[in-house]
Amino acid sequence: MTNSTDPTTERRVPDEGVPDEIVVAADIGGTFTDIVAVRGRHMLVGKFPTDYDDLSRPVRDGVDLARRALGGPDARVGTVIHATTVATNAVLERRGAKVGMLITKGFADLLEIGRLRRADPYTLDHRKPALLVDADLVAEIDERIDATGKVVTPLDEAQVEEAARRMVAGGAEAVVVGFLHSYLDPVHERRAAAAVAKAAPGLPVVTSAEIIPEAREYERISTAVIAAYLGPVVRHYLRRLADRLRDEPPVDQLWVMKSSGGLATADHAITHPEELVESGPAAGVIAAAWAARRAGVRTAVGFDMGGTTTKAALIMDGTPRVNHDYEIGGAAHSGDFLRKGTGHPLRSPVIDLAEIGTGGGSIAWLDATGALRVGPRSASSTPGPACYGRGGGLPTVTDADLVLGYLDSAPAEEAGGLGVLRRDLAEAALSTLVSAGAAGSVVHAASGVFELAVAQMAGAVRLVSLAKGVDPRELTLIPSGGAGPVHAWAIARELGTSTLLFPAFPGVASALGLLQSEVRVDLAVGVRARPAKEADRALLAAHLDRLTSEAAAQAGEQAPGRELSSLTAQLDMRYAGQTYTIPVDLDGTRLPATDDLLARFGAAHRAAYHHETPSRDVEVTTVRVTATAPSGTVETTPRWATVPASAERTVIFDGVPHQAHVVQRADVDAAGLTGPALVVQVDTTIVVPPGARIRAVGDGSLLEMRLPPADGTDEEETR
C-alpha cells in the first residue's frame, strides 16, 4: 500500500479557480497499478502494488489519494478511466466460463479444424490451441441459410430447447449460437437465442452475428466464443470495481479502454468483453499517438519496453492503425503476418501491435558455440533480474543496464518497489558470462547484453514499419515503459533514425494514454454488394444510415451530454475474385457517387499494391462505421517531482566510461542540453548519449532528442 510519503507520488496544491472535477486514470499491470490523475492544470502520478486478491483496491486507493492530494473542499473524482488485463489473463490462465455452443448441423468441429495452416511449419509436435468451448457441450442444430440469405433448412426450435437443457445439466455458464451465413440474416440465431432463454432462463447467450456480423464462419464464431468465455469474468470484475467506486464519495463515470484505443462505459464493456483484450497496450499507443500529434510528427513508432516483451506500433499522421484480424492466447507475434495461427481468432478492432520476446527481464545465455545470446527466456517479475535481490541469479538486460550506469541503484520502479537495485548482484550474475569465456570483463558482458537486446528490439521496430512500407530511418521513435527511454537512443541509432520523442511520463504511458482517449464505437456489417449495381448501392446506403444512427446513439449514450467528435465510415472492398480486401475511407458516413467510390478504391489499391485494374468488378464485403465522442479530459501541463540523485554518474557508452550529468526532468527546457546526460523522473530515466541534444518542445510536456549524425561504423574497431 502506498502511503502519503511515497516518493514516487507527486502532488500539487491546486490554484484558485480550477475545476472541481478530478479525472483519474488507472492502468493495472502485472506488478504495479499506475495512477495518473488530473484536475485542471494539475497532474499527479502514482504507483501502487497490484493487489491480486482484489484488483479494484489500488484503483480505489488511487482515487482517494487523488482527491486528498489534488482536491479542494469541493473537489470530487467525477470520472475514472481504466485499462485492465483481466480479459487477457482470463484467456491465458483459462479462467473463463464453461461455454456451450449451438452450431449449424455438420459443423460441430469447426473450431478444432480451424484454417489448417501452421504458424511454425518446422515442428513435428504441432499443437492446436486448446478450445475455449467445452467439447462435451457442442450441439448441432438443424437449420441452414445459404450464401444469398435464403433459408434452406428451417430452424428446429424444439431441438434448441432440448440442447439448452442438456447444457445447463452439463454445467454450461454461457452459450454461443453460431450459424452459417447469420451475418446476412440473423433470424435463426435470434430465434435460437430466444429458445435458449425459454429453456434455460438466465443462462447468458451470445449470437455470432450480434458480435461480428461478417462473413468467415471460423473467425466470427471464434470471436463469439471469446465473448461468451470472457463474459462472466469481465462482468464480475467490472461490477465489483463499479461498486467500489460507488463507495462514499462516489465516482460518477467509469470508462474502460478497449483494444481499439477507444473508451466504453463499463456497461457496454460488460456486453462486449471481447473488446478488452489489449486494453492496457492500446492505451500506451494512444499516449504515443497523442505525443506524435502534439509534436506534428507524421510517421512514428510507439515503442513500449516491458519486463518480458516489447511492443511496437506504427503511428501515421497521429493515428494508430486498427486491425480486425487479431489472435488471442497464442504466441507473441513479431509483427510477422507469416506467423499467424497459434491462438484464437478475434475479429473485433484491435490496435495494430507487434510484440517480441525481449524485455528488461530477458536472460543472457551462451549458445552451443559459447557465444553470447539474449532472450527470449525471461526472469519476468518473479524472481526478476538478479539485481532485484529476489533470488534470480541469471544475468538479464536490466542487470546490464545497471552495470552500465543507465539505471541508478537508488530506489526505482524497476526494483519492484522492494528497495534498491543491487549492483553487486548484477555484477555477480554477469560475471558468470566472463568465467565462461564469453566476455573479457563484466563491463564487456554488460555491453554485449545491452547491444544484443537493442539489436533485437530494433529488428521488431524495423519490421513494423517496413510491413507498411515505411522507411525506418524516416520515423520518429516514441519510447515508453520504464525501460523504453533507457534503450531508446541505441535502438534509434541502430535503425538509423535520428529523432526521438518522449511523452511526459513514459513510464506510465498507458495510464497517461487513458486521459487522452475518446469514447469510441465501432460497428460493422458484412455484405456482398457491387456498388456499380443500383440495388446494391441502395443496400449499402441503407446499411450506412442504420450503422451511423446506431453508432451515434451508442456513443451519445456512453458520453452523455457531449457532442460527437467524429463520425466516419469505411468500406472493405476488393476486386471480384480476390480473397483479400482493402479498407476505403469515406468522407463522413455518406456513400459517395459510384465513380468516386471506385476511384477511391482504385487509388487505395494502387497505394497498397502498386497497380489497379479499372475494368474489373468491385465488391464491398464489409461496411464499418466509427463514432467518437470526447471523454472531456482537459489538456494539462504536467510538473515533475524531484528525484533524489547525485549530480553526476559514470555511464558507459560503447564501452567507454563517460561522466554524465544527472538532470531533473523539470529542469529540461526549450534550450535543452547535450549528452552525455541522464534525465531522471519518477517513472523512468531518459539516457542521452554523448553528442545528442534533448530539449522540451511545445508547451514543455514533451521532450525531443536528436542523435548526432553517425560517424562511420563502430564495427571498424574490430578490424
Binding site: 513435428l124 558455440t369 485494374t613
Partner: protein
C-alpha cells in the same frame, strides 16, 4: 584482441541485419503482389546469397522452397557472371532448379563499386503460365511441355529497365496476363529493393569488413548446426515411403516409392542419398533435385532448435544426392507440376530416417496432411478448394494434431461462407473423421470428412492421395485410415480414383471426401493420450 562479447554482438547484429533484409524483401514482395496465392498463402521466398552461391539469409517463407534459391544461384553462376548493376535474370526452368514452371525465380547481383557482394534472389508462384489446363498443373501431364512455357535464364531487367519485349512473351503465355504482370512487377520491385538495401549494408560495413563478416557468420552458423547434429547417433539409416497414383478407377494404381538413406558422421555432418527411389514416371509427380533437397532439409529443420538461422550453416553440414532419372531427380522433359505430394513423401521418409538417429524425438510415420485439392469447373468459374487435408502423425512426445497441413505445403483453407458466395455449392458437412488417426501410445491425428453439394453442372478433377495404404505408424503404432473419394448421386455412392479427372457432375451431386488420419506412435496397450 577483440573481446568475445563484442565479437558475438558484431556477428549477431550482422546476422540480424541479413535476416531482417531477407524478411523485408519478402514482405515488400507480398505487399506488392497481386494474386491471392501470394497475398493469402504467401507462396513466395526471398534470400540473400553469397558470391559462392551460399545462402547468407533466407526469409521465413514456404518450407518447400527452402533449398531452392541457393541451388538456383549456383546453377546460375555462369549466367550471372556478366550481369551489371540493375540487371535481373529470371527463369522458371526446372533444369536450373525451379520446382515447377509456375515458379519464377529472380537473381540479381549486388555490385558495390565493382565488388560482387553477393546476389539477391526471389521465387514466386505465378497463378498461370500456360500449359494444357488453367493453373498449369494438369494431373495427367506426361511431359513438361503440357505444363506451360519454359523460360531459360534471361535478362528480364537490364540496368533497372524492364525488357518489355521479353515481358510480352511471358505474358502472352499466361491465361492471367494481368495478374502475372502484377506479380512479376512485385517480384522485380522486391528484388531491386533487396539489391538496394544490401548495397547499403555493404557500404555501412565497407567491403573488406563485410567480406570478412559474412565468412565468419556462416562459419559461426555452421558450428551451431554441427553442435546440434551431434545429437544424432553416427551410423547409416534408411527409410522408404510409398504412394499410389491412381487416376482411372478401371485400372490398377501405380505405386511410387521414395527411399532416403542418411549417413550420420561423427563430425556433425549428414549425407542424404535419394538414389534408391523409383525411376521417374510419365506423370507430373516427379520432384526436381533442388526441391527434393528442400523437402529433406525441412525434415532436418524439424529436429533442430528454433533459433538456428536459416542459411548455408545448415547446408554446409548436409549433402543431398540422387542419381539422375529418379522420381526425386528426374531427367527433363519429365513433368513436375504436381510435385508437392511426392516432396511430402521425401520429407516423411527423411523424418523417419532422422528419427531413428535422433535421441530426442521419433516421429511416427506420416501425416495425412498433404493438401488434396479438388477442382470443379462450372459454368461461372473454377472452384479450387484446398481445404482438404488429413491428420498429423503422432510422435514419441505427443499425439498428432487433427486436420492440419504437413510440414511441406502448409496451405490455408477457404472459409466455407466465402466459398459458397463465390461458387454454386453447399458445404453440407465439415467434420473430424473420428477414429481415422492410427492408434498407438500416442494416437495419430484425425482426418476430415467434407461433403460438398454441387448446385450447377460442372466437371470435377481430384488430386487426392493414400486410398490404398494409410500413413504408416511407427514403433508399433497403427497406420492412419486410408482416404476415400465418393460421388453420391440420388443416394447412389460411386467410388472415385483419387486423381481422377474429367468427372461430369449434375446439380444435386455430392462429393464426399474422407481424408487420411496420421500414423500412431508406439503400441496401443500403453495408450496415454487423453484424446
Amino acid at each position: 584482441m577483440t573481446d568475445p562479447a563484442k565479437s558475438a554482438v558484431t556477428l549477431q547484429v550482422f546476422g540480424n541485419a541479413l535476416h531482417g533484409l531477407a524478411n523485408e524483401l519478402q514482405v515488400s514482395m507480398i505487399r506488392a503482389a497481386y494474386s491471392p496465392i501470394i497475398k493469402e498463402m504467401f507462396d513466395c521466398s526471398a534470400g540473400l546469397i553469397s558470391p559462392d552461391g551460399e545462402y547468407l539469409a533466407l526469409a521465413d517463407g514456404i518450407p518447400l522452397q527452402l533449398g531452392v534459391l541457393s541451388t538456383v544461384a549456383r546453377e546460375l553462376a555462369p549466367f550471372a557472371r556478366d550481369l551489371g548493376p540493375g540487371d535481373i535474370l529470371v527463369t522458371n526452368d526446372p533444369a536450373i532448379g525451379s520446382p515447377h514452371l509456375n515458379d519464377y525465380l529472380t537473381v540479381a547481383p549486388v555490385l558495390v563499386d565493382g565488388y560482387l557482394a553477393g546476389y539477391v534472389s526471389t521465387l514466386m508462384h505465378h497463378a498461370d503460365v500456360g500449359g494444357k489446363t488453367p493453373g498449369s498443373m494438369p494431373a495427367d501431364a506426361t511431359e513438361l511441355f503440357a505444363e506451360g512455357m519454359r523460360c531459360p535464364p534471361v535478362r528480364l531487367v537490364r540496368a533497372g529497365q524492364v525488357n518489355e519485349e521479353l515481358m510480352s512473351v511471358l505474358l502472352a503465355n499466361s491465361r492471367l496476363p494481368g495478374s502475372m504482370r502484377g506479380d512479376l512487377d512485385a517480384q522485380i520491385a522486391g528484388t531491386l529493393v533487396g539489391v538496394e538495401r544490401m548495397t547499403q549494408l555493404v557500404r555501412r560495413y565497407g567491403t573488406t569488413v563485410f567480406d570478412r563478416l559474412r565468412r565468419e557468420y556462416l562459419d559461426y552458423c555452421e558450428a551451431l548446426v554441427r553442435a546440434e547434429l551431434k545429437e544424432f547417433r553416427p551410423g547409416a539409416y534408411a527409410a522408404a515411403r510409398t504412394l499410389e497414383l491412381h487416376h482411372d478407377p478401371g485400372r490398377a494404381p501405380e505405386l511410387v516409392r521414395v527411399h532416403a538413406e542418411v549417413g550420420v558422421g561423427d563430425d556433425g555432418t549428414l549425407a542424404i542419398d535419394l538414389s534408391g527411389s523409383d525411376p521417374q514416371i510419365a506423370l507430373p509427380f516427379n520432384v526436381v533435385l533442388s526441391n527434393s533437397r528442400s523437402a529433406a532439409l525441412v525434415a532436418l529443420r524439424c529436429f533442430l532448435s528454433d533459433e538456428l538461422p536459416m542459411n548455408a550453416g545448415i547446408e554446409r553440414c548436409v549433402r543431398v544426392t540422387c542419381l539422375p532419372g529418379r522420381v526425386t531427380n528426374p531427367e527433363l522433359p519429365a513433368p513436375v507440376g504436381a510435385r508437392a505430394a511426392l516432396a511430402a513423401l521425401v520429407n516423411e521418409a527423411m523424418v523417419d530416417a532422422m528419427g531413428q538417429a535422433h535421441s530426442g524425438v521419433r516421429a511416427a510415420g506420416s501425416s495425412g496432411g498433404t493438401t488434396m485439392p479438388y477442382v470443379w469447373a462450372h459454368t461461372d468459374g473454377i472452384l479450387i478448394d484446398n481445404s482438404t487435408t488429413g491428420g498429423m502423425g503422432a510422435t514419441s512426445r505427443r499425439a498428432g494434431a487433427s486436420v492440419v497441413d504437413n510440414c511441406v505445403t502448409n496451405a490455408m483453407s477457404y472459409p466455407n461462407e466465402v466459398l459458397e458466395q463465390d461458387h454454386p455449392v453447399l458445404i453440407e458437412e465439415v467434420r473430424l473423421r473420428r477414429g481415422s488417426g492410427g492408434a498407438g501410445r500416442h494416437g495419430g491425428g484425425d482426418g476430415l470428412v467434407r461433403r460438398v453439394r454441387f448446385l450447377a453442372d460442372g466437371v470435377l478433377s481430384l488430386r487426392g492421395y493414400r486410398t490404398l495404404s494409410g500413413p504408416p505408424g511407427a514403433d508399433g503404432g497403427a497406420d492412419g485410415a486410408v482416404s476415400r473419394w465418393t460421388l453420391i448421386r440420388d443416394g447412389q455412392e460411386r467410388p472415385l480414383a483419387p486423381q481422377q479427372t474429367g468427372i461430369t457432375t449434375l446439380p444435386g451431386d455430392v462429393l464426399l471426401i474422407e481424408t487420411p488420419g496420421g500414423g500412431g506412435f508406439g503400441s496401443r496397450e500403453e495408450t496415454t493420450d487423453e484424446a
